[in-house]
Subunit: 203 residues, 2 copies
Amino acid sequence: MTAEAEARGRILAVARRLFFAHGFGRVTMDEIASELAMSKKTLYRHFASKEDLCEAVIDAAFTAIDAELAAALDDVRLGFEDKLDRFMRIVAAGYEEARGPLLTDLHRDAPSLWARVDAWRSKVVHTRTRALFAAGKRAGVFRPDVPEDLVVRLVIGNAQNILRPDVLAALGLSFPEAFAHCKAVLLDGVRARPCNGGRGAAH
Amino acid sequence: MTAEAEARGRILAVARRLFFAHGFGRVTMDEIASELAMSKKTLYRHFASKEDLCEAVIDAAFTAIDAELAAALDDVRLGFEDKLDRFMRIVAAGYEEARGPLLTDLHRDAPSLWARVDAWRSKVVHTRTRALFAAGKRAGVFRPDVPEDLVVRLVIGNAQNILRPDVLAALGLSFPEAFAHCKAVLLDGVRARPCNGGRGAAH
DNA sequence: AACTCAGGAAACTTTATCGGTTTCCTCGGT
DNA sequence: ACCGAGGAAACCGATAAAGTTTCCTGAGTT
């Protein structure tokens, strides 16, 4: 790896963290440069503009998510429930990419970048998760009366909204505990089962 | 009602819509005054500052939501499922209050207002929804192994993320259809039931 | 008619912000 | 010594917006 590629990689990592946490307009190039202990001049030698930097961040992030989801989907050793498990984990880990301040900001400040994220989301996260549920339906594992697209949004929304450090802290749950609960409710709902022995234990 | 109270009410209504849709920092007093066909001078005669206006908006909004949730919770003619139904509808209608650009903005630009919203959310939405689930658990209607606080977040998150005009349009579903699906998944999950005739119909 | 007050439109004041550019300087390599 | 990379920070230009004030009009009252 060349020095330039290494520097570029560091820039992307810092920019990714800041943009996804705080949005596009709220993160200054001064701030990014400062955190990298780098002058703005150098930063601009790697990326021609703030938008160029953000675009590179978006592309890198979603390319990685796509690879992870594809690997899970194609893993023949996994059943549907395990695949769902993997999907939720991937989405929870990448939650900041699919929601949050960056999208809100881009919608206003850089519409073309917003469109880019939206396209990636649609192409990667929704499409692969939908494929999982469609296959599960055909295999008779998932109920046939609920549209896949809606379930996709439930999966993604629940993973994002709950499997986050701040929410886990508020709930007083560990990640594995919360994860198990989310999955249980997603698979079997909140209705009590009078004949279901597997759920008798008091929480 | 006096002319002042009437004007004040109009201001609150417009400010509420704009703040909740676009956030605090992105909505200017010029914009609010313009939409009201009012001069900024007059606007400032009713509210001393932008923050004062936003604070009044927040308080009015959550007071209304609280009243609605309390009415649903205390309605002895409703069973748990109907109460859940009502809660989801109230939350979906008020989704912009509980999430969205306003919160993100306030966290940064007006921390004391952010804390105010957070306190209201905790006090009103979470507390009443949690009471519903706790009662449902005691009555044996809801499963005992999932913490109420987590379910509360699932209910609220699902209502907010899906029961919105843009998402409904993308899904090609009407509000009643999407609502029914969300409720079905929340109550009974996505797992197929081999012996459940009530779900045999293809979507 | 003259005066007063309310209130709209818009100019004004003040302050702050930030993307992108340039200057000054130091250090390492040749 | 010279050159180039790069950090710190000043600079430039443009923009934005909260809050204040001016100019003007219309309605009501005396």
